[in-house]
Symmetry: C2
Subunit: 564 residues, 2 copies
Amino acid sequence: MRLSRFHLHTTKETPADAELVSHKLMLRAGMIRKLAAGLYTWTPLGLRVLRKVEAVVREEMDRAGAVELQLPTIQPRELWEETGRWGKFGGQLLKIKDRKEAEYCFSPTAEEAITDFARQELSSYKQLPVNFYQIHTKFRDEIRPRFGVMRAREFLMKDAYSFHVSDEDLAREYENMKAAYIRIFTRLGLEFRAVQADSGAIGGDASQEFHVLADSGEDALAFSTASDYAANVETAQAAAPGPRPAAAEEMRKVETPVQKTCEDVAALLGIPLQRTVKSVAFFGEQGFVLALVRGDHSVNEIKLAKVDGVGEYRPATEAEILEHLGSEPGFLGPVGAKKAIRVVADREVAAMADFVVGANEPGFHLAGVNWGRDLPEADVVADIRNVVAGDRAADGGEIRLARGIEVGHVFQLGRKYSQAMGFTVLDENGKAVVPAMGCYGIGVSRIVAAAIEQNHDEAGIVWPVPMAPWAVAICVINPKKDPQVDEAAESLLQELKAAGIDAVLDDRGLRPGPMFADMELIGIPHRVVVSARGLEAGTYEYRARRGGEAEALDRAQLLQRLAG
Amino acid sequence: MRLSRFHLHTTKETPADAELVSHKLMLRAGMIRKLAAGLYTWTPLGLRVLRKVEAVVREEMDRAGAVELQLPTIQPRELWEETGRWGKFGGQLLKIKDRKEAEYCFSPTAEEAITDFARQELSSYKQLPVNFYQIHTKFRDEIRPRFGVMRAREFLMKDAYSFHVSDEDLAREYENMKAAYIRIFTRLGLEFRAVQADSGAIGGDASQEFHVLADSGEDALAFSTASDYAANVETAQAAAPGPRPAAAEEMRKVETPVQKTCEDVAALLGIPLQRTVKSVAFFGEQGFVLALVRGDHSVNEIKLAKVDGVGEYRPATEAEILEHLGSEPGFLGPVGAKKAIRVVADREVAAMADFVVGANEPGFHLAGVNWGRDLPEADVVADIRNVVAGDRAADGGEIRLARGIEVGHVFQLGRKYSQAMGFTVLDENGKAVVPAMGCYGIGVSRIVAAAIEQNHDEAGIVWPVPMAPWAVAICVINPKKDPQVDEAAESLLQELKAAGIDAVLDDRGLRPGPMFADMELIGIPHRVVVSARGLEAGTYEYRARRGGEAEALDRAQLLQRLAG
């Protein structure tokens, strides 16, 4: 490919409305252009990258035995009514009326459509298992589309749906898909983690997310140094604490006139923060709840909501706190409540001795507090805290934290959709059974943005080779002045093509500075400069986008380097 | 590919609601499944064919220098208001409101979106010419979707748009695209014609359609035996007639008691039909019009509408006819009208002598009529007839008729969209100029159906090799009973793969009859049978889908045949 025949349009200005670095760089490199809120045109440059991702996804899905098809993007309301999602899906579902006032939606996902297809196509256990996938345009009417293609309304998604006669077979395919996803993200050259997820609103029994690691990621992840264990911090667990030590101190009231936080109290008393306990008041389904976590920990809201008797909850009001504990916030504690309260202690707190809590009296805390002696054992002991970096993991490793961008998700859906839509097949005994389903999504267009969040520097994008629009940029110095330079560049281009290396020849006639800047901005992994001076010396200047010095290589050395 | 791992689902029943043979066969072969009216799922089998067409289109567009991008399918009303098409496009435009009540449409074509992209991207003549294309989902809300994917609402289209500083450069690219289209349809193995078209509502200066020839085609085409000239019968012209012969007969009134048609009058008088003239009464913009065509010809409504003073017209009522000609239909003619009428004679009629027309008196015709002597020369002489098979073409050849399915269209749009949307670039002199545009469409999904209309027989589809889901079907007899048969088939599959031949191995274990019927129904061009008996003899049974006897070939002969 000669760049003079390709529409490349880079800009120096950083777009005002772009927050994320990937959004800025995709605009500056000219990969996308906005048509309207959350709607982007993929320019020729952007589309090259998108197609490379798509090709890897397709190859690995095929390799895993999934079969590609394509469902319509516009789907009738009737199908979505069968599962109740026409009403439940929420505002992200773009609803449409056709000229005959019949109702449709633009598919944001396709469980209904594929189950409808399956119930027409599949009637016998002999046709199962089967895994259908498509790579197709989706639409979610985001209330606040932003971050470019990271959270666009129209986007490209790979969605796969498998059907099974048994849960065991679904579990097998689920593992098969996880392995395929690992191959996909590995091949794309991305640093990623498979993460245990809370399956949330989609429902089902087991699910896992795939995250590209990037500091700008929306999701906080916890992973262990000792295994592949990784989880969203929403659900991550540390190892259970050891046994509770014996009490060594007497309980005593200490004056803490203005010290309302654990940090301030620990500093005043000259003790480690880990010896203090934070008391947080909530009002849950069964009334007033006092949640206790260690001073250096924080309450995990999702975990707390799962505690028996808490359920849907809200922070307690000051009036409720005063009514139950007789104090103002800042000095709260589980000892000597005025009214009956439910004490929910984190596992770590339940294993503490000689700790410090608020005295339920403004200006005072209690030190040397011990369970069973100074207060009854907690009503509930559970893991209700967020993990922190340095926690011990259940596998013996150390927990570290990272931020991630979700680019894939695998679910064991079970029979939620097949049951609702009355889909059965005959099993080996001629009995009608409802097949179990799995679904497996990859945000193909989102991967492009996530890869940039993970791979960029001051000069622009730094593509992993498998996603780069071209692996090699052949920069020609003065192509119009020196025809033999252009010829040498063309012959190199053809030689690379024959070797299966995807290269672009920059014959636009720009000066070296702007030309190199463009190739760096658009992130081409390898740069080769062809100049009259180099040709005289029999060399090409090579430089890697990821850094390092420019080197003068002869043709054989150059080809070896680029093939490597 | 092993068929046991592919979801193939053929049926014997002919679907009740399918009229066209392509629709029936696509359903029976299991290429598509209906989701809702005009909305089809492409099954794994169907998608393989669709992708093959897509790949050829993409390769030839790239070869022609066009650059691929992708526009959103959902496009804002504001853009369509700029060209006035939000209101004018009609009911086929699927209009959508998002959650914020902002209005959008599902793109049925993308002149507005691409011109918006171009005006953001292109500012200098140096960036022109450029031809952007996409292969993407489109939606047209057909009032009566039918014929399967032939006239579906959601479909796959290749649409390209070029931008030029001059009309000459647009004309050059227009020819370039026509050449690309010819390569595309030739490579796909289709019999087709490039046809002059009436550009109709899309507007613009020049346009041409590409039709796949098939008896079931919606469009009637005329083409010449002497050149590439072809036209929709709506606009096709025959060669102009020779000079008018001298009058040889006297005008006379002949009795035609019940003979109201030219055929009946000619039979009664014992003269050729070509000596009679048909008089058809209309009411046009400037009043009563009598259109004259030869007895064996018919009036072409599109041509007539273009005649000066006719414009929008309708058939005249019996009352109007009586008022102007004093007769009832069946005996009408241009001689002796009661009131002033406008006579529009077809070129052929104007060149006739001694002809027969109605006498404007029930039961009578006039014979031996001659222009200038018996009636004044016609008010207008023009080509207002449909061509018929056997007409002489302007190029000296003979006109033949065929039916076609429109699968491509190229337009010179001129400045209609760029002007309306205020898109300018600076020319060489720094002056702002409005670029000329071309647009070039191919109905990718429609090609699949059109190819079947052209290529099928009693047993099913007969794919041209470039579009076939697989070029070769390797049919294994008793794969479970004879493992070495399966092994031989697998080794053949791998050998073909290495030779770049796309083959499928039918290892489903069906009996030969149903297996062969499936492979014929889905149209695989080459069939190879691998059986224990054949292996013993060292042969494979080969048969071409297009017919011919089954042959026993050894491996080398077989490979030669399949490579050829």
